[in-house]
């Protein structure tokens, strides 16, 4: 029977690291997540990782596969070249155990950009707010983020400055600014124009390349910047 070798970078609860290899029969599994479950069920009960929906929508199982961040559930074994697969926890996150990483800091950053519609008439819900299909498509792509953290692992700035807000939170800021139902643009621009905001981005575009859901955070960040430039110009001319 044909086998695949999974080389997994493991970390125990005390922070000791080791690399362990497992042979998984190729015809028993079709994705990396299935392979991990196979290992956990049959070969090594102590392997730890996060997983849930197995259809690339819940964002649990982001990890580094063959050196790049991917969702384990949607990475099919057919798409991997060669017999050997290396699996490691997501970069730039603190490892809890094996492949499970601490995403609390990431969610705090997300929370920091006020990722919800801000309206003066909040609390009156007797009809919808009109939104044409054109307005709808202004933000739709940015609303597809599953908070998996892959972009945070791909971003080179996150690697050297852990305080940088990062691609997903900034994309979320733009997602709500671009939504015509929202009136919170000025609050959000103030947050993202701070020292740890858009100015840290150098447009490597790795977040966009890595995103499994086709969100384009690097584009969103540049949009935020141009909005800020626009705002500054307005201020300049108002002063005169």
């Amino acid at each position: 029977m044909e086998e695949m070798v999974f080389e997994i970078k493991r970390t125990d609860e005390n922070g000791n690291m080791k690399t362990q290899s497992y042979n998984v029969p190729k015809d028993k599994v079709s994705t990396v997540l299935e392979a991990l479950l196979y290992i956990k069920e049959n070969l090594d009960h102590s392997l730890s990782f996060r997983y849930s929906c197995r259809m690339e929508i819940c964002g649990s199982c982001a990890m580094e596969i063959n050196g790049k961040p991917h969702m384990a559930c949607s990475t099919t074994t057919d798409s991997l070249k060669g017999q050997k697969v290396t699996v490691a926890p997501l970069k730039h996150f603190k490892v809890i155990r094996d492949l499970a990483v601490d995403i609390d800091g990431f969610l705090e950053k997300y929370r920091a950009v006020k990722p919800y519609v801000i309206r003066d008439d909040d609390g009156k819900y007797d009809s919808e707010i009109l939104q044409t299909p054109e307005q709808f498509h202004e933000y739709l792509d940015y609303s597809l983020c599953i908070k998996c953290g892959i972009c945070m692992a791909a971003c080179p700035i996150e690697g050297s400055d852990p305080n940088y807000l990062g691609p997903a939170p900034l994309a979320a800021a733009w997602r709500y600014i671009a939504d015509n139902r929202d009136q919170g643009k000025k609050y959000r621009l103030e947050i993202v124009s701070g020292e740890e905001g858009t100015s840290r981005c150098h447009f490597a575009g790795e977040c966009t390349e890595a995103c499994p859901k086709g969100v384009d955070p690097s584009f969103a960040i540049q949009k935020l910047r141009s909005s800020m430039v626009g705002l500054e110009f307005q201020r300049l001319f108002r002063r005169r």
Binding site: K91, F93, G159, F203, E209, S226, V229
Partner: protein, 129 residues
């Protein structure tokens, strides 16, 4: 967790945007380094025209003329950095965002052309004298 600047140097399986980013930083560092070198050379003016002239001549005509190769590299780095910087400035103002990769190649092509012109005149300058 924190990779540090060494992380930039990993190009394996990364996109062109990443290449542009990492090279932009490296070229920036080289340019800063050159700025100090430049100031160091200029500071010889304090010791009078003769000292300065002999230093410049030694670099241009020997015995230290191998430095000229570095000058060519410096020009490469500056034009790269300038071209990419122009692209980034435009992108950040929202211009040409959808085509930022094409723009990278476009601006770098311009940089190569300017570098060619520079090299031609530099050669003429040395060759003529």
């Amino acid at each position: 967790m924190n990779e540090g600047p060494l992380g930039w140097a990993k190009f394996y399986r990364k996109g062109v945007g990443y290449f542009a980013f990492a090279m932009h930083r490296l070229s920036g560092l080289v340019i800063v380094f050159y700025l100090y070198l430049h100031l160091f050379v200029l500071s010889h003016l304090l010791s009078g025209a003769a000292t300065y002239n002999s230093l410049v001549t030694s670099i241009t005509y020997g015995p230290y003329d191998s430095f000229l190769v570095l000058d060519v590299l410096l020009a490469l780095v500056i034009f790269y950095h300038g071209a990419n910087g122009t692209r980034l400035a435009l992108n950040e103002m929202g211009i040409g965002l959808k085509n930022h990769k094409v723009m990278f190649y476009f601006f770098e092509s311009i940089a190569v052309v300017i570098l060619g012109v520079f090299l031609y005149y530099a050669y003429m300058f040395i060759g003529a004298a």
